[in-house]
Every structure is written in structure tokens, then in C-alpha cells.
């Protein structure tokens, strides 16, 4: 089969601009051939090169005393957690593949992030995910399609994670029409490793052999990175061949074989997984990092089917493959281990010192490109950014014209929404307990997992993923800042202090200045949040072009924060614990209704400015909760988020004992704003009644507004509001729980 001629049409089809093509010719000092054109197109796609976002990403704080591997240096960042142990973690998206093939798209998303982690030499110990879909309620547009996507994504995640034996311990799922046709699938993985056993992805030492291990290469996932770097259209179904097919069993073997191999540091020079852009990316990136060159012969690559062209082999994104640079003379170490695990393992080339990525096929050179320029010198664009005129309009909110809804019915209705209802239907499909580390069940404010640091020695980590995209859509910088604050708040409630953050920036087409403005502002917000909490960004992912013919998604800069709880006895639950305990509200009473769940769901109004955020108050809240937990004063803690105070109170009654509460509030603000407003920097905690006044005093001293608002007990949640016209409401906890627990199932059956 002869290669097609390079025409302007072919160049455009590869997503390369005329200027980019000229740059390629300048680098090569000649015209590229078809294979080389394909190689450049995937390496210079947004997915691999971050050419549109990299200038923005440079704003992130990435350093700190605990940072062992910085963002962008390797496949994942590494943070020191003490006693010679570190954690590698990262979040990555698989949005486009999941839109056209939800099961495999999501499954291979899990597979990809797992490889990013064990490539670093870390054993993956838990997974989380952040998902977005269009509405699934039967009366909403596209509900059947959205349910199919949700069911497919959940079973794909379950399929891969359950089989490989890494627990999926938490996550978040939200629904909004902006995700119709373009769901978001962001997957987070964390692994542990000894700090002196971090593996790097550099090819050094001319003459060292280059090994290919793992799954055979097939024609699946051809140019998936390029596919992920353009808008989804009506024709995207034709891109199904760009979706990879995952085999978690092979990945499990690859994981164990690699970790076994890494126990022989003398034999391993470098290692890199083959993810986006497969063989292309792993060869040129390892050479670039090693300031070396690399030469491989495709005839030596284990292949699933005969007759694959060099173009196909180089661009395939077949899963469960790794590239390992072995120290010359130690070839037998690697071949023996992979033989034990019955996995393909082949020497496909060697490291050179001429700086070229040279690809041969049966000895004939088919591509020859300077590795560094290919991997690291993709064009960088400073995109135009314009504040969307629609933002001002969206922020306008005339509360006077909005009547106060029936409070009694509203709580039940909010608890039944897909956003708030229990996600048990989802997480019970995930093995969330394997590896005997899961301390809190999914559904808590943050996941708490004990991770092994040596034999029968543990560290207690808390982790949470978060993003209220409605806030971001209404005011991107503030919305992104709130995402960081809320995620860190979730951690503080469990007793954890934050260590580091990973992010997944899901946005629309960056060529649209309004979309790019949202990205720019969100990055500013995330950066400000990280600086305030003094935590570094250790890496993440950018997913642009998230738009269907109906328009872009709501901008969704998902954040994942990992924290540490220094002592197991400080792990704090979110549910009420004992009858008679005092309930204390931390933070202001609050009355902001803008961009709230209440307005969206009860009044059908998607407007208003998000609640304001004072980072100083936020930090004081976290510090105060943590220190009170350490003093043993706090028995349960739950933050206030979507749905405000009343929803937080209801959720706190949903523990094993279903303990109710009686609450007394004194307020002159409108009742719906008091009960459902989403003002920031707030939490409810419980303490023994005899300690209540001392705790309130202590919290006030620490600069955190605190007041006792009620007592745990009984079978009802009763709320009394005094004021000019006293009001009283009461809900049967069992009935509320039934609504909350059963609604999600009812949308899916």
C-alpha cells in the first residue's frame, strides 16, 4: 500500500494549520512523509501539546516543600507524605471517547490514568471520578440518551476498576443540559511509592535497549488524541475507530509485572506508558527527556493483526502497553518477568545520541524527526479572550419577583433531584472496598482511605473531587475559586489538611474568544485558591473542544485535592452520631440565592451571581474545624454546599441511626434564602452538649462565627424560625431518607 500524497486537504484533515505545516518543514528541512505528518498531528494536538492552554497553565503554583516531582515533569506529580513514602496522583479526562462509545470510553479512561500512576513506580491504591451528563429525568429532553450514556460510563468504569482490583472510593456526578451530547468523564487515580523508588520516563545511555511490553498493537484508537482535540459533531460516531478497547485483565498483569520489574532498579533506565499518541508519544518524549535519540523498528512491535502500516502502528492507541528503557546487559531480567506474567515483551530498538526519533520498518527508515522539537516545541498560542456579554445578563437576578416557594415540599423535591439524590445506584457497581483501605463509604464529604506505608503501617488520606460548574458559568474566576474552597472544605470536615491539587479543565473550543476567556479566568481562580491554601498543582489534564452542535458545555474546571489525617482517631464522620449532641453552625447565617440549586430546581431559574467567597474566612473555618477535631471536640462535621443549610441538615440525619434534630433559627432574611441559600465558608458540626458553649467560644475566638442552632435527636427534622412571623417545619427523617435514597434508581429503571 503506497502512502497518500501530502496535499493541503490532507494537512487540514490532520488538524494542522498552514503555519504549523511550515514549521514542520522548517524542523525537518524537507517535506514530511505521510507517517511523519501523522506523528506531528498527534503530538501537536491540544491533547498532547497543550498548545492552546500551556501559557495559561504556567500561572499555577507548582512548587512546595513536599513536591518531589513537579507538574508536567513526568506522567504524574509526586508528593512527599513523610516516613520515606510518597503519593503520585492525577486526574484525566476521557470525554470525547465516552460521548461516542460510553463503556469503552470510560473503561479506557480508567486504564489510562492507572498507567500514568504505575509508570511512576507507584502502586495504584484508589480511584475516584467526576462525571457530568445531560439530565436523566424522564420528562427532560434527551433523557433516554443521557441515561444510556450514564449507564454505559458507570459500567465501563466498574468493568475496568473492579477487574484490576483498585477501589473506586468516591466522586461526584452532576447533571445539566449543557452536557447533552458531550458528557464529561474525569478519572482520578492515586498511588503510593517509596520516595527513593520514583521511576522516570527518560531514555538515556546510547545503546541501551528499548523494550515494548504489554498488549499487542492493533488498529484501535487510531489518532485518538487528535479526535479528542476537535469539536464533537453529528458525524462523531464515525470516529468510533478512534476509541480504544480496554482489557483490564492485561492491565492487571502489566501492573504487577512492571512493579516486579521496578524492584530491579539496576535494570531499568526509564519507563513510559503508551497513552495518547501511543508509540509516537512514548518514544519521542523519553528521548526528549533524556536529551538523547531513539531508534525503533516497527517490524519488531508485537502486533495483533498483519499488514498494519507504519502510520497505523505509530498512531494506534491500543491500550495496556509500556515502553521500557533497559540497561544494556540486563535484558534477561525483563524478559523473565514478562514471561512469568505471560505478557508480550520485545526489544524494538535502542537509545541513540543523535537526538532523532528514527522509526524503521524492516530496516527501512519511515520517519526521522528531531525528538525534542517534536515533543517539546509544539507551537504555543496566546488565544484571544473576550468576556462573554451573556455573563452580565446571566448574573442579573431580581429576587423580589421570585416568590418564596413551599419550604416543606421544596426540601423533599431537592433531595430527589439527580444532583443531590444518593448515588448508591452508581457506587455499588464499583468495588469500593478491595485493598482493605476504604475507611469511609462513598457518599461522604470526602473519601478517607488508609494507604499502606510498609507492612501493617498506614497513612490516612482524604480525597475529594469537586466543581460547581453553575458557579463557573456565571462568574468563572469566582466559580473556580469556590471549587478549590469547597473541595478543601470537604477535606477539612474529615479532619484532613490539604497536601496538593490536581485539576481537569473541561472547556469548549479555545478558538472562540468567549470560551477562552472562561478558561483564562478559571485558571486564575484555581491559582488563587491554591495560593491561599498553600498547596501546589501537581498536574492534571486539559480537555478543550467540549461542545456539541448545541454549543459548549458549562465550563467545568474539576479539582481533586488530596489531604492527610495525621491520626486515625481524628477521622470524622459527616452524619449525626448521638441523641442529645449539640448542633453548631459555623460561618454566617447567609442568604445568597444566586446560581443556587433551589432557584434552578424549584423556580427553573438559572441566573444570579454565585455566592461571594472570602478566602480568609474560608481558611479560618478549615483551621478551626481541624483543630477542634484534634481536640476531640467534634463528633460529626458536614459542610454546606448545594441546597444550603437545610439540605446539609437533612443529609446529616442520613446516618445508620437516622437521628433527627430540632433546629431553632433567628433571622429576618427571606426564608428560602436562609434555608436554601448557598453562602460559602459554612459547616455544621456536632459536639457533646456539655461542651457546646465552650466550643462556640473557642470557634469565635478563632475568628469563625459560630452559634448553637439545635440538638440531635428524635425521628424528625424540625426547624423553627423566630422573627416577625414565626414559622415551623417538620420532616420525618425516614421519609426524607427514602426519597433521597430511592430517587436515583427511579430515574434509571
Amino acid at each position: 500500500m503506497s502512502d497518500p500524497a501530502i496535499t493541503p486537504e490532507l494537512i487540514a484533515k490532520h488538524g494542522l494549520t498552514t503555519e504549523e505545516y511550515q514549521r514542520i518543514k522548517d524542523i525537518l528541512k524537507r517535506e514530511p512523509n505521510f507517517t511523519e505528518l501523522g506523528i506531528f498531528s498527534v503530538m501537536w494536538s491540544e491533547h498532547c501539546s497543550y498548545k492552546n492552554s500551556r501559557l495559561e497553565l504556567r500561572k499555577f503554583p507548582t512548587t512546595g516543600p513536599t513536591v518531589l516531582v513537579k507538574a508536567g515533569e513526568e506522567n504524574a506529580g509526586v508528593i512527599d507524605i513523610g516516613d520515606g513514602w510518597g503519593i503520585a496522583f492525577k486526574m484525566e479526562s476521557h470525554n470525547h471517547p465516552s460521548a461516542v462509545e460510553p463503556f469503552q470510553g470510560a473503561a479506557t479512561g480508567v486504564g489510562g490514568i492507572l498507567r500514568d500512576i504505575f509508570t511512576m513506580g507507584a502502586r495504584p491504591v484508589f480511584l475516584m471520578n467526576s462525571l457530568r451528563f445531560g439530565d436523566i429525568r424522564p420528562d427532560k429532553p434527551n433523557a433516554a440518551t443521557n441515561r444510556r450514556l450514564l449507564a454505559g460510563v458507570v459500567s465501563g468504569i466498574a468493568h475496568y476498576g473492579n477487574c484490576i482490583g483498585v477501589p473506586t472510593v468516591g466522586g461526584e456526578i452532576y447533571f445539566d443540559a449543557s452536557y447533552d451530547g458531550n458528557p464529561l468523564v474525569n478519572v482520578f487515580c492515586l498511588g503510593t511509592l517509596k520516595t527513593n523508588e520514583i521511576r522516570r520516563g527518560a531514555a538515556t545511555g546510547a545503546g541501551n535497549p528499548v523494550f515494548y511490553v504489554g498488549n499487542r498493537t492493533g488498529r484501535d484508537g487510531l489518532a485518538g488524541a487528535a479526535f479528542a482535540s476537535r469539536d464533537l459533531t453529528e458525524d462523531s460516531k464515525a470516529d468510533r475507530p478512534a476509541v480504544q478497547v480496554g482489557d483490564p485483565f492485561i492491565e492487571k498483569l502489566l501492573l504487577e509485572a512492571c512493579l516486579e520489574l521496578f524492584q530491579h532498579p539496576e535494570a531499568v533506565v526509564g519507563v513510559q506508558d503508551m497513552g495518547a499518541a501511543g508509540l509516537t508519544c512514548s518514544t519521542c518524549e523519553t528521548a526528549s527527556r533524556g536529551n538523547s535519540g531513539i531508534e525503533i523498528d516497527l517490524a519488531l512491535v508485537p502486533q495483533r493483526e498483519p499488514g498494519m502500516t507504519p502510520y497505523e502502528t505509530m498512531l494506534s492507541e491500543s491500550q495496556e502497553r509500556m515502553l521500557v528503557i533497559v540497561k544494556a546487559g540486563h535484558e534477561e531480567t525483563i524478559t523473565k518477568i514478562f514471561e512469568k506474567w505471560d505478557l508480550p515483551c520485545a526489544k524494538v530498538g535502542h537509545v541513540t545520541d543523535d537526538g532523532f526519533m528514527r522509526v524503521k520498518n524492516h530496516g527501512v527508515t519511515v520517519a526521522e524527526i528531531p525528538a525534542k522539537q517534536l515533543a517539546d516545541e509544539a507551537p504555543l498560542y496566546k488565544r484571544e479572550a473576550t468576556r462573554p456579554a451573556s455573563l452580565d445578563e446571566r448574573q442579573k437576578l431580581d429576587l423580589v419577583s421570585i416568590p418564596e416557594a413551599d419550604i416543606q415540599a421544596s426540601l423533599t423535591q431537592l433531595l430527589s433531584t439527580p444532583d443531590l439524590a444518593s448515588k448508591r445506584w452508581v457506587y455499588r457497581q464499583y468495588d469500593h472496598m478491595v485493598r482493605v483501605g476504604t475507611v469511609t463509604n462513598p457518599g461522604s464529604d470526602a473519601a478517607v482511605v488508609r494507604v499502606p506505608t510498609g507492612e501493617n503501617s498506614w497513612k490516612y488520606l482524604a480525597a475529594s473531587v469537586d466543581c460547581n460548574a453553575h458557579y463557573v458559568a456565571a462568574e468563572p474566576k469566582l466559580g473556580a475559586l469556590i471549587a478549590v474552597a469547597e473541595c478543601a472544605r470537604n477535606l477539612a470536615m474529615t479532619g484532613a489538611e490539604p497536601l496538593a491539587l490536581t485539576d481537569n479543565l473541561n472547556f469548549g473550543n479555545p478558538h472562540n474568544p468567549e470560551n477562552f476567556y472562561m478558561l483564562q479566568q478559571a485558571v486564575d481562580g484555581l491559582s488563587e485558591g491554591c495560593r491561599a491554601f498553600d498547596i501546589p498543582v501537581t498536574g492534571g489534564n486539559v480537555s478543550l473542544y467540549n461542545q456539541s452542535p448545541a454549543g459548549p458545555i458549562d465550563p467545568t474546571p474539576t479539582v481533586g485535592i488530596v489531604g492527610i489525617i495525621r491520626d486515625a482517631k481524628h477521622i470524622t464522620p459527616s452524619h449525626f452520631q448521638n441523641s442529645g449532641d449539640a448542633i453548631i453552625l459555623l460561618g454566617n447565617i447567609g442568604d445568597e440565592l444566586g446560581a443556587s440549586l433551589y432557584l434552578r430546581e424549584i423556580h427553573g431559574i438559572k441566573r444570579g451571581r454565585p455566592p461571594e467567597l472570602d478566602m480568609d474566612c474560608e481558611k479560618k473555618l478549615h483551621e478551626a474545624v481541624r483543630s477542634s477535631i484534634r481536640l476531640g471536640e467534634i463528633l460529626s462535621a458536614h459542610d454546606l454546599a448545594e441546597g444550603g443549610l437545610l439540605v446539609a441538615l437533612a443529609e446529616s440525619t442520613f446516618g445508620a441511626k437516622k437521628l433527627g434534630a430540632t433546629i431553632t433559627l433567628d433571622s429576618s432574611s427571606r426564608l428560602d434564602a436562609l434555608l436554601f441559600g448557598e453562602s460559602q465558608s459554612r459547616a455544621i458540626v456536632t459536639t457533646r452538649p456539655e461542651n457546646a458553649s465552650a466550643l462556640v467560644e473557642l470557634l469565635n475566638l478563632r475568628g469563625v462565627p459560630a452559634r448553637r442552632i439545635g440538638t440531635v435527636g428524635g425521628k424528625d427534622l424540625t426547624v423553627k424560625v423566630s422573627g416577625p412571623t414565626p414559622r415551623e417545619f417538620s420532616w420525618d427523617v425516614a421519609a426524607l431518607h427514602k426519597t433521597w435514597d430511592g430517587s436515583f434508581d427511579s430515574y434509571l429503571s
Binding site: F249, R428, Q429, Y430, M433, V436
Partner: protein
């Protein structure tokens, strides 16, 4: 006493079982690779959960051809203790060491949650530390845990007291809503006729430390220790 934890390609609860035996019960335990042919004189063998051989073809169907399986069959015939958990239960059924088969959950979904499990009787080497009718909180995590056998087999399993565990509600009643996978007669765990080979779908190793929410599974391991005449190891 000596324990062996078998590792098949795709086993993923092997390290959990090993941890409980080693660190919680302070036992002499070692891994045995599926390509080996010797159990190194182990008194008790754990066939752990996971997805051996990716569960391709049928759960446990390929694992039964692994070289180590003949050693396990010999050990079972010699009266050694064999404990198959989850995928291990499926393997023991496929290997013919236990009657019946495990098929797809009636919900067609993988299901992971802690469920009440009733102890049928304490007269076995696996349940000596429990009481009849005691309700344990044990995690399950499987897509194919629906136990099926013909009526005559089911009758004989109950008649011979081979059924050690059934799914129940928190009061210990075998009521319809309490069956997480559709297992016939609520069966969660059975032994062979001789009583030395147990297969169960719930994961006792995931419920052996309080910090994980339940330590109800520890009794299964301590029962085995007691039946082997080993003084009760100190639980952590």
C-alpha cells in the same frame, strides 16, 4: 499453622487475605503462584477473590486448569482446609471441589456493599466461633454470585449441613429483599460433603478490622485456627 494464599493471574484480593492472616492474625502465610505445583505443606489454603484470567469464558473456568489446582485437589482430599472467597468460590465450583455454579446476578449489575449474612450453624471448622442464627455484616463485591444447583443438590446441601451462610435481613430472616444476587435458597457459602472445603461470596477478609466498618469476618479465620488446634491468635 501454615497458610497458603494462591495467586492466579488476575487475583486481586490475594494481598488482602495475606494482610489479614499476617498482620491481624500473625500467621505463617506465604503466596503460592498458580504455575507452581506445591503448596509447601500448608495446612490451610486460601483461593482469593479477583478476576482470575480476566473471568474470560466463565468465572473460574480457566483457573481450574492451572498447575496448582491438582495440588489443591490433593490437599482437599487429604482433609486440609480450603477456603475459596468470591472468585475463589467460583474456581472451586468449576474445579468440582464444590457442587453447583455461580451465574450472573439477577440484577445484571456488579454489586458491592455490606450485607447481612446469617450463620446457619457453628458445627463446622469455619464457623465454630459463631452462633447459630448470628447475623454478620459482610461485604460482597461480585457480578456473578448467583448460586445455582439442582433441587436434589440443594436439598442435600441443607440436609448435610453444608450450607454455612445465607443472605438475610438484619434480623436474620431470609426475606426476598435480602437476596443481593438471586442465589437459590439465599445461599452465600457452602462446604463440600466432608466439611473441609468452603466457598463463599462475601469477603470475610474485608471485614476483619474495626476501622473498615466491620470485624465480623474475623471469626471465620479464628474458627479455622481453633479447629486446627492453634491457640487463638491475638486479633489486632
Amino acid at each position: 499453622m501454615r497458610w497458603a494464599v494462591i495467586q492466579f493471574p488476575g487475583s486481586n484480593c490475594d494481598q488482602d487475605a495475606f494482610h489479614v492472616l499476617k498482620n491481624v492474625l500473625h500467621q505463617d502465610v506465604s503466596y503460592v503462584w498458580h504455575k507452581d505445583s506445591s503448596l509447601n505443606g500448608a495446612d490451610a489454603i486460601v483461593v482469593p477473590g479477583g478476576f482470575s484470567y480476566g473471568d474470560y469464558l466463565r468465572c473460574g473456568a480457566i483457573a481450574r486448569f492451572s498447575p496448582i489446582m491438582s495440588a489443591i485437589k490433593e490437599a482437599a482430599a487429604a482433609g486440609k482446609t480450603v477456603l475459596g472467597i468470591c472468585n475463589g468460590f467460583q474456581i472451586l465450583c468449576e474445579a468440582g471441589l464444590l457442587p453447583g455454579v455461580l451465574v450472573r446476578n439477577t440484577s445484571l449489575h456488579f454489586r458491592c456493599e455490606t450485607v447481612p449474612v446469617r450463620v446457619e450453624h457453628p458445627a463446622s471448622r469455619f464457623t465454630g466461633d459463631y452462633m447459630t442464627g448470628q447475623v454478620l455484616n459482610l461485604p460482597i463485591a461480585h457480578g456473578e454470585g448467583h448460586y445455582v444447583a439442582d433441587e436434589a443438590t440443594l436439598d442435600s446441601l441443607f440436609l448435610n449441613k453444608q450450607v454455612l451462610f445465607t443472605y438475610s435481613d438484619t434480623q436474620g430472616r431470609n426475606v426476598p429483599g435480602a437476596n443481593p444476587n438471586g442465589s437459590q435458597r439465599f445461599i452465600a457459602g457452602i462446604t463440600n460433603r466432608e466439611g473441609n472445603v468452603l466457598g463463599l461470596m462475601p469477603h470475610p477478609e474485608r471485614a476483619s478490622e474495626k476501622i473498615l466498618g466491620s470485624a465480623d469476618g474475623l471469626g471465620l479465620f479464628t474458627s479455622i485456627l481453633a479447629s486446627h488446634g492453634t491457640p487463638l491468635a491475638q486479633a489486632a
